[in-house]
Amino acid sequence: MVPMSLRRCTKTRLGVAFDNSASRGRLWRQLAATEAASAQGLQSLARRQRDVDLRELLGALASDADRHAAALGAQADTMGTAGIDPTPEPFDFTGGRHDETRDRHGFPISEGSENLGAVACLATLQVAVLDARELYQLCGRLAAGVDSEAGVLCRSIVEDLDRHLSNIDRALELHRGEHGDAVRDALRTARRSPFMAAWKRTGMRSGAGLSRGMLYVFYWTLLLPFGLVSRRSRARPGCRVESGDAAKNLRSQY
């Protein structure tokens, strides 16, 4: 489910991380930081849900994320602490596509998801869990040759994620019975949105950059004579009291 480019990119990053024990330690710590932050976010999201089943599902995910964070942290400790930043930047599961609606794990953020319905929330969770599962599978494979304990840990995390995935699928199936179109649309949006968001972001950035460039050119060309004239005028404190029909003034933007 992880797109090819992302998979290749992640694989390269992970390949580098498995070069030596120090970088492996840093990776476990980064993963632990992401899991810990997600656990807190999922707890917060769970509290905001009216749907009891979804609340339980999120609670279970949060609880496991918390457990995974502790286990990954412990795994990092076995690598030794020399040269390892104790509070590293969390690992980005989304390949740089997290935004105000989803965290670095790809899970929905409670503040950005107030109006997110249950179906959309489940669809986002499914995509995030699939991505995470893929990543931990990769970690497990890479760790198998160099660090058997870490390999076992990754496999156990994958098993947990499989369990959550089946729960999410079951919940989506229930919704599919009544709102088949909504589920299809939500899943499509959740899968596509990272690409669309990235595409839109790129478009907006390039548009904004172009606009700023044009304004900068205007400043040094069109505004030059006005700027030179305006420099001579002086502001002074005093009265500029408006008079006239107050009701009519309300309609004016000036």
């Binding site: 509290r47 503040e111 107030e114 006005f226 005028s233 502001a235 404190p237 005093g238 009265c239 408006e242």
Partner: protein, 566 residues
């Protein structure tokens, strides 16, 4: 008539709904987005107001924006041109924001809210602030003064109001702006302008006014009050750096965030700058008030604008006179402009309506959720008894009830409480909320009866409605209160609670008095560092987990921090 007021694009964006002249709902956007002082168009807040009143946007008669966008753009553009060619970067920044978004506010309101194009109205910024102060005051006739950073051109307005009639007597024009000078000095001292002005006000208590002469040169007196020496400031054309480098030749090197703060011992330079600024603010504003009183010789004054948040200044205005009654609304700044714009439009469009303003309740925001969180424990008895028991045990408690208050501070519905004599050092409560600066002001809640005996009264002045917005001196020879406050200049920020306005909180304070001989609690807004005041029960439980508070009581439900499960 249903009118929705909107304030946005500067800071503290807000929406307020008026039905037949009465405020029924008002909220700041920050409560919904979690971003402190959020300036974005308050669509969440507007939707909340409509939902609360049970109406749709199409049923609104008018949507009123709190400033005139074209006039403000004119001011910004002209000042960019005046500073040519130093403004290339700031021009691009401001022109991008204005041409891309702010100038089309009418279209955005029509599109986002779904109202008629003709239903969107605009009120001048200072008039909106003044209307907020006057129409929420208990007065039917009063002088008006707003002291703000800037709206369109005016930075300050003097006037008078009698029922529905507003008369503008004078305005101070941009770039002469006391609000921006305060923001510039806030930035000069290494704090965030637009957010940390209250910190500079607090620092003033630690210093002496040795830079007063410098500020007298920077803010020369004028027949209307003041002017500002533009050579020392850049705020007229640059929103990023508000002071000019030449200010350092007057006040020494600027402080940057993270640098040591010199407020005690042998070096009190930063506190001295803050103290000198506070002194000059008082001098200049008192001149404006004297001139205003000559032109509008009334007993009552309504004060608004960002500088009306300055408690020391408000107290100085009350002490010095000549106005004997002064009113400051709970939201005197930008967010109050939303309510003020709606109130002004209502009174202009319904000129024959001027009801008695009986509704002064600031609790206009969202109420706590009706459903409890799973980890809640139901209290069988009075929540007040449980709170008292825990306070006497030295616990720090968050107390959430009713609706969120509309304004800069919570007046009792979203508070954290501690008993000063039993809860450790005075700054412990602030530490629980992740605020670590040792010099932050401390608020003490006390019943009205206690305030009368333990705070210095000002002869001939009625402080009643102002007591939540002033900085009052403690009565000399009252060691217990002084110990609770530890303020360097013997003043406190009181939160005076009356039996009529908040019987539940009043009863709790009386019980505290019976148990400890001092009916005083240290209080703070229930807001973690960098976050707005909590809104809902779920947000309160969230904040409890992140804080070091001992427990949270929401209505009759108890949450204890260590035992909360997802």
């Amino acid at each position: 008539m249903r009118i929705l007021g909107i304030s946005a694009h500067h800071k503290d964006a807000a929406a307020a709904l008026l039905v037949d002249g009465q405020p029924v709902a008002a909220a700041r956007e920050e409560h919904f987005t979690g971003e402190l002082h959020d300036p974005a168009l308050p669509l969440h807040a507007a939707r909340f107001c409509l939902e609360h009143a049970g109406i749709s946007a199409s049923q609104l008669d008018h949507v009123v924006f709190y400033e005139k966008p074209l006039r403000k753009f004119e001011r910004i553009l002209l000042h960019q041109l005046k500073a040519y060619p130093r403004t290339s970067r700031s021009f691009v920044r401001s022109a991008f924001a204005w041409l891309g978004d702010r100038l089309w506010i009418k279209n955005r309101l029509v599109k986002e809210l779904g109202v008629e194009f003709d239903a969107v109205l605009f009120v001048q910024h200072q008039l909106a602030l003044a209307a907020n102060a006057f129409f929420t005051s208990p007065f039917s006739e009063a002088a008006l003064l707003t002291v703000d950073d800037a709206g369109e051109w005016a930075t300050s307005l003097s006037g008078r109001a009698s029922k529905n009639q507003f008369e503008v007597l004078d305005e101070v024009q941009f770039p002469h702006s006391l609000g921006f000078v305060v923001s510039a000095i806030t930035q000069f001292l290494g704090f965030v302008p637009g957010r940390d002005e209250y910190v500079v006000e607090t620092l003033a208590a630690y210093g002496t006014p040795r830079y007063a002469e410098v500020f007298r040169e920077l803010l020369p007196a004028h027949e209307n009050g003041f002017t500002v020496d533009q050579a020392a400031f850049r705020y007229a054309f640059d929103a990023e750096q508000l002071y000019a480098d030449s200010l350092a030749s007057h006040l020494g090197a600027p402080r940057f965030s993270g640098d040591p703060l010199h407020i005690d011992g042998t070096d009190t330079r930063h506190a001295d700058i803050a103290c000198s600024l506070q002194l000059l603010l008082g001098e200049r504003i008192l001149t404006m008030i004297r001139v205003l009183h000559e032109r509008a010789p009334l007993a009552k004054l309504c004060l608004a604008g960002e500088l009306a948040n300055n408690r020391r200044l408000v107290t100085q205005i009350v002490e010095t006179g000549p106005f004997t009654q002064v009113f400051v609304p709970n939201a005197p700044g930008k967010s109050g402009g939303a309510l003020g714009a709606a109130l002004y439009a209502h009174h202009v469009l319904s000129p024959d309506e001027f009801g008695e303003h009986t509704s002064h309740d600031a609790a206009l925001g969202e109420s706590v959720d009706e459903r409890a969180e799973p980890s809640a424990q139901l209290l069988s008895g009075d929540p007040g008894d449980e709170i008292l028991r825990r306070l006497l045990d030295g616990q720090h408690i968050a107390w959430v009830r009713g609706r969120v208050e509309f304004g800069a501070t919570s007046l009792g519905n979203r508070m954290v409480l501690a008993l000063p004599s039993r809860a450790g050092p005075p700054n412990r409560l602030q530490t629980c909320l992740q605020r670590t600066e040792p010099f932050l002001p401390r608020r003490l809640a006390m019943p009205e009866e206690c305030a009368k005996t333990r705070l210095e009264s000002i002869p001939g002045r009625d402080l009643g409605p102002l007591l939540a917005r002033a900085q009052i001196r403690m009565t000399p020879g009252d060691p217990s209160l002084r110990q609770a406050s530890d303020s360097p200049d013997g003043t406190i920020c009181p939160q005076v609670v009356t039996a009529a306005s908040d019987p539940e909180f009043h009863a709790l304070l009386q019980q505290v008095g019976t148990a400890t001989d001092l009916p005083v609690l240290q209080v703070e807004d229930f807001a973690l560092r960098g976050s707005p005041v909590v809104r809902t029960e779920a947000a309160a439980v969230d904040a409890l987990q992140r804080s070091r508070l001992d427990c949270l009581i929401v209505e009759n439900r108890l949450y204890e921090r260590p035992t909360i499960e997802p």
